[in-house]
Amino acid sequence: MTVPFRALASRLPLSLLVGMVLTTFLVVGALVAPLISPADPLSQDLYATFQPMSWGHPFGTDAFGRDVFSRIVYGTRYSLAEVCISVLVSCVAGTLAGMLAGLVGGYVEQAIMWVVDIVFAFPGIVLALLILSLLGPGFINMLLAISLFSIPVYARLAQNLTHTLQRTEYVEAARTLGAGTWRILYVHIMRNALGPILVQSTLTAGSVILTASSLSFLGLGVAPATPEWGAMMSDGRNYLGIDILPSLFPGLAITIAVLGFNLLGEGVRKVMEK
């Protein structure tokens, strides 16, 4: 007999359900952006600046008469791209480095973990500022910078997991049967370490959005007119005292997106711990 949906839902933690709803909302928003936004996010109308909330402009308009709601809806695409690219790059690079360190051991492990520790000593945004001043501001460079300083977390986690998994009987059995390092890494360690690493990725996703929007807010991320939430607030900040709406809603959007990923991460962790 199949378990009724409501019974299943009541057994899952509340944080997981709310997190799933919020992130689904985000993904759907990014997919159907052109259908639900009332105006072009880039089109200016200098006769209609700082409009209040109305049916035509649900969140009002900004200093250039652009529709804030449309810009926020299109902004979901940037946020999702930030999360997907940064998490993927740092997770793959960090996990590989950490697992290799754990498996090979010796000087290789010491060297890898030493580099990881040094990157870890840099405060996140300071490292990102250094890299961005090196490569110049821009969306892709910003994602590279964020990926780079997220690598140590995954590398340490993967190294610890590898050490633990290596002592399990099935890995020892595989080794006795003559399996090589790569086979053990791929078949036995990577698949079993996937769960904790996935939880870590979900937990990192929220902080990726926060850091990326901070960097855009500081003017080091996307180009100025781009409908990215942090960049929108950087614009809106100049008109504090004239109109709060152009900064209020992008910030709310960031909070909801980050909250969604944080709740999802916590929910997944609770389920895995059971």
């Binding site: 000593a121 250094l130 090196l134 929007s213 500081l218 005292g241 900064s247 209020l248």
Partner: protein, 306 residues
């Protein structure tokens, strides 16, 4: 003093050497030429070359680094390209502001996080526990620059109670330190709760309870000291992200600290200042983590053994 702490202390100069070299080389590959900025847009190539030479930028990188290290060991970090002031003096004049901001933010975070987390753990799964977990996850999700703008709109623009920007009086400190406190509030609160829950299930707590120790004494005298070490570790580990938060907070509020100095230096391609501030930031992260380790070994006899 255990071997781990001594080992970390011995590694400190090596790590600083590697970090300083990496930063030095990286910063010298910045696009944009400070000599051309200083000489002005109408300067001839000869004038730009002369500025290059006076700044020592035409020498090989290794030679420049050698000069930099000799100076740095003697306490001389070079001269700011933009303000023409010694970098050491620039940092010394901005550092107290960041220190004040950071300390007051951590004070706020501790005042909220420790009692809040304690109460949540004592009444696990109760009403306050649920509210507390909700509050902390929201605090950890709010972008600090948004929170800053909301505070400014409410208290400065609408109510006119607090100064909008700058550091003119003690009341200028309120909004920036509250903004910076959001993230550590959430982390310290959650860590205190988790650590207390783990401690409360231990045998010695059950013994104390059986013996009839009162709730307040049980919680403050028996449980809390044993729950503190993970909280201290989290404070140390989290310092990096608080420094990052300080960069944003200082920029929004025009607070004249190191974060503000760093952003200005990046804008001006002011090599010596970028290097100086980065090294100070890395050194503070390492030192605070070391201090956290030492503090834990002082209050926790188990950590004293190797």
């Amino acid at each position: 003093m255990n071997a781990r702490i001594i080992n970390k202390m011995l590694m400190l100069p090596v790590v600083m050497l590697v970090v300083s070299f990496a930063v030095f080389v990286a910063v010298r590959h910045l696009p944009g030429d400070p000599a051309r900025m200083l000489a002005g847009p109408a300067a001839t190539q000869d004038a730009v070359d002369a500025v290059h030479h006076s700044l020592g930028l035409d020498r090989p990188v290794m030679q420049q680094y050698g000069g930099f290290m000799r100076g740095a060991l003697a306490g001389d970090l070079g001269v700011s390209i933009e303000s023409r002031q010694p970098v050491g003096r620039e940092i010394a004049s901005h550092f107290p502001y960041t220190l004040l901001l950071g300390l007051s933010a951590y004070a706020l975070a501790l005042c909220f996080g420790i009692p809040g987390g304690l109460a949540a753990a004592m009444f696990q799964d109760g009403v306050w526990d649920r509210i507390f977990m909700g509050i902390t996850i929201v605090l950890a999700s709010v972008p600090n620059f948004w929170f800053a703008l909301l505070l400014m709109e409410l208290f400065s623009v609408r109510l006119g109670l607090l100064p909008l920007m700058g550091a003119h009086s003690w009341s200028s400190l309120l909004m920036p330190s509250l903004t910076l406190a959001l993230m550590p509030m959430a982390l310290i609160g959650r860590m205190t709760r988790a650590s207390m829950i783990a401690v409360l299930s231990r045998d010695y707590i059950r013994t104390a309870r059986a013996k009839g120790v009162g709730l307040m004494r049980l919680c403050l005298r028996h449980a809390l000291p044993n729950a503190l070490p993970p909280v201290i570790t989290v404070i140390g580990m989290n310092l990096g992200s608080v420094i990052g938060g300080a960069v944003v907070t200082e920029t929004v509020f025009g607070w004249p600290g190191l974060g503000h100095l760093m952003i200005e230096a990046v804008r001006w391609r002011d090599y010596p200042v970028i290097e100086g501030v980065t090294l100070v930031a890395v050194l503070s992260v390492i030192l605070v983590n070391l201090a956290a380790d030492i503090l834990i070994s002082r209050i926790d006899p188990k950590a004293r053994r190797i």
